[in-house]
């Protein structure tokens, strides 16, 4: 029943990426999905706001640091994507060419190319240095996200029509598509050694697939217990050793799940996430302390310590929901971007 309500509301939106809205809950049922737990706060960590800019005219849908740590890219519902330098947030490229708003932007492993996915049913690959559009793949359905694999030769794109697409980056035509789920697929990500990839979908399942053959190896569901319903899973990412996956779910939980047993090993709570596809990310610092960052719909950026699950900081500087966060690959810096009408990108530093 709930699913039917969802699809009806979905088609009434004209520009999906403007809102990334998955508003299907009833206010009465809301309480059962948020697991109430005392969340202790730890001391000893300070976060400072480094800089803040408002480069876009509409909501910013995703934010990503480049693998070499020099640039940060943002995509927005105003049909453009922009690339900035990390040191002073100076805009170096503005990539325009899509006909509708963008949902996602991601980097190639050598930091030379970015790929943008958009509501106009295409994925485009751009060269960072010149800003030129090099490739376009047409998938005949709204594309939620697309990511490169660590070798840089394959692209995984996930679309609204429940298909998962694997494409050759160098070719001009998409390679292979296969039915992955029974509901729209929100995010896809490769493991560090290119052997498997993970996809997350609205039905709350994370599926692990083998790259070479395309067979499904494992399915993980994110429900709290067999009695509770499954809530949409909107983001999935592998840890550096590809043993665990970090996922964001629409019951305000960020989970770290073991892919072999399917059980969640860590649960991070304290933020609010039941409407938008809010992203989360890791932050690895040189002091051997690891953190998990997530955005929240009350405008705050939440930071947890990875092992102890303690909330380290709640940074409330945005006025609107924080849609995406991104952790720098090497420095203790992270970025956050927000919804309209604020449309700002903020960079934070961890001490």
């Amino acid at each position: 029943m709930e699913n039917n309500q969802f699809y009806q509301k979905e088609f009434s939106h004209n520009n999906y990426s403007e809102l990334k809205d998955l508003n299907i809950h009833n206010s009465q049922e809301n309480d059962t999905w948020i697991y109430q737990e005392k969340i202790p706060k730890s001391e000893g960590h300070n976060c400072n706001l480094k800089s803040s800019i408002n480069p876009h005219q509409r909501a910013i849908s995703s934010l990503n640091f480049s693998p070499n740590g020099l640039f940060i890219a943002s995509s927005s519902a105003d049909k453009t994507a922009k690339i900035f330098t990390v040191s002073d947030l100076k805009e170096i490229q503005c990539l325009s060419g899509h006909e509708k708003g963008l949902s996602h932007i991601s980097w190639s492993p050598d930091s030379r190319y970015v790929c943008t996915s958009s509501d106009d049913q295409t994925v485009k690959i751009w060269e960072v240095e010149t800003g030129q559009e090099l490739r376009e793949f047409d998938y005949q359905s709204i594309v939620f996200s697309s990511n490169f694999n660590p070798r840089g030769n394959l692209l995984i794109s996930t679309t609204y029509d429940t298909y998962v697409h694997i494409s050759d980056v160098r070719a001009k035509l998409p390679l292979q598509k296969f039915p992955g789920h029974s509901t729209p697929v929100t995010h896809g990500c490769f493991s560090h050694d290119n052997s498997i990839f993970a996809t997350s979908s609205f039905e709350g399942l994370i599926r692990i697939w083998e790259t070479r053959t395309g067979t499904c190896l494992r399915s993980i569901n994110n429900s709290l217990s067999p009695k509770d319903p499954e809530r949409p899973c909107t983001f999935v990412k592998f840890t550096p050793n590809s043993r665990y996956v970090l996922s964001s779910n629409l019951d305000s939980r960020v989970l770290l799940t073991d892919i072999y047993t399917g059980k969640s090993k860590k649960t991070y709570q304290g933020h609010i996430n039941y409407r938008f596809c809010v992203g989360s990310d890791f932050l690895f610092t040189f002091k051997n302390m690891d953190f998990v960052i997530s955005g929240s719909e009350d405008g705050s950026v939440v930071l947890w310590e990875l092992q102890s699950k303690q909330m380290v900081a709640v940074l409330k500087q945005h006025q609107e929901s924080v849609i995406d966060v991104s952790g720098h690959p090497t420095l203790p810096i992270f970025g956050s971007c927000s919804h309209s009408p604020e449309n700002s990108i903020k960079l934070w530093e961890l001490n």
Binding site: R170, A171, S195, R207, T215, Y260, G262
Partner: protein, 430 residues
């Protein structure tokens, strides 16, 4: 490590076609994988070389056969160990070394021997084993100039680096005295295509060379170039040799259509495989790394035979019905149980039959045995605090020697290049 999620099927023979690539304008002739199996070098019959990305089977680089190159006809090809250069021999006694990344020639060596097969040393980047039609097989030792490192770019375009080389012929008798030179016959041609033949092979660790010389197998030391031992086998003219990874078994593809299986521990021939029904001749014979089964490709039809070493019999005959021309080349993938074959118009990838893993779609379901009575299970409330106390290791990559790693960067040699860097130009493609 991540492939521990997969159940390896009992059917281990790579007998199902996974991918097929067809080319009507160009005809295939040779195939070769680089050390880690990420790139495939494909040679066409008009002596052009293409480098394919194995994940996608799409072409990345291309070497044309122009009048300036003077490649003429390519007989045999081999990758250099660092994965950046390719060495190949043509019919005019010249060895070329071509740099893939910069798409230019590094060196051209005039060997003065007609080469029919070149094989690289497993560990040493500068040693190659050459089989010739007019001389005894010899080891080619390359001496690159002192400052030469494959990572550096050349100062001028179109300039060639002066590689010095020395040939050590395997031409001594048991007392290590040089023998008289024997003139050999010229190689035969099959339908206009020069038949490649291989008389000597490196051992898997590279310390020894096995040389099949008429009715004897001679064992040479590859560092001092001295003969260590020899033993007798029935007379055969070898077309192609293959050795198992633990140096147990040597396969000889004989010209008389027989596959001889030689046990190197007992130094005797234990068996021969032969097609009694159709009396097929084999283009190439390969033994699987573990020494369990043998793959042979027929030279007239597109048929692949699988033989078992332990049971000494034929296991399976597989054919690709879309083509009726002979198989020109077969190669094993270095890390997976995959075979790639090429015939005139097709390159096919063969893999073990994939089992439909329906369990992957519903991993939380458990199978019930018959007559098992299951009562309604009332789920216990999860005590999350107790369950999630453990320390998680998210960075160290676990190694599992039993499972082949898809791409283990720690296995790389110094200065090895696994992949051609991504370079998407706007106006490229063929």
């Amino acid at each position: 490590m991540n492939l521990l999620l997969k159940d390896f099927s009992k059917n281990f023979l790579p007998s199902e076609i996974e991918h097929e690539v067809e080319r009507t304008k160009q005809k295939f002739s040779l195939l070769k994988f680089n050390r880690l199996g990420t790139l495939l070098a494909v040679v066409f019959q008009d002596s052009t070389i293409a480098i394919w990305d194995f994940d996608t089977l799409n072409m990345i680089k291309y070497l044309e056969n122009t009048k300036e190159n003077r490649i003429k006809k390519i007989i045999s090809i081999e990758w250099r160990l660092d994965g950046r250069e390719i060495i190949f021999a043509n019919s005019q006694k010249i060895l070329f070394i071509w740099d893939i990344l910069n798409s230019e020639f590094v060196a051209k060596l005039n060997i003065q021997q007609e080469i029919t097969f070149i094989e690289k040393h497993p560990i040493d980047n500068n040693k190659y084993l050459i089989t010739s039609s007019s001389e005894t097989p010899s080891v080619l030792q390359l001496f690159p100039p002192q400052n030469y490192s494959s990572q550096k770019t050349k100062p001028e375009k179109d300039s060639l680096i002066d590689f010095k080389y020395k040939l050590f012929p395997l031409n001594k008798d048991l007392n290590n005295q040089p023998k008289k030179k024997i003139r050999k016959r010229k190689p035969t041609t099959i339908r206009g295509k020069i038949q490649i033949f291989q008389q000597a092979i490196f051992s898997p660790k590279g310390d020894r060379i096995y040389y099949v010389n008429n009715s004897k197998i001679e064992i040479w030391d590859s560092n001092s170039f001295e003969i260590l031992n020899l033993f007798e086998i029935p007379k055969t003219e070898p077309l192609n040799l293959s050795i198992s990874r633990n140096e147990d078994i040597l396969l000889i593809n004989g010209k008389e259509k027989k596959i001889h299986v030689i046990d190197l521990t007992t130094q005797s021939k234990i068996h021969e495989f032969f097609d009694f029904v159709e009396k097929r001749s084999w283009t190439k014979v390969l033994i699987h790394e573990n020494g369990e089964y043998v793959v042979s490709g027929s030279s007239q039809d597109h048929l692949i035979y699988f033989w078992s070493i332990r049971n000494r019999e034929l296991i399976k005959i597989v054919s690709d019905k879309s083509s009726d021309k002979g198989i020109h080349d077969i190669v094993f993938h270095p890390r997976f149980d995959i075979i790639v074959t090429c015939s005139e118009n097709f390159v096919c990838t063969w893999a073990p039959m994939a089992q439909n893993n329906w369990r992957g779609f519903g991993s939380w379901f458990t199978e019930l045995t018959e007559r098992e009575q299951v009562k309604d299970v009332i789920p216990k409330p999860r005590n999350i605090e107790n369950e999630e106390k453990d320390f998680l290791d998210i960075k160290t990559i676990q190694k599992d020697p039993l499972v082949q790693q898809y791409l283990n960067f720690e296995n790389c040699l110094e200065e090895e290049i696994i992949d051609i860097p991504l370079d998407i130009g706007k106006e490229d493609e063929i």
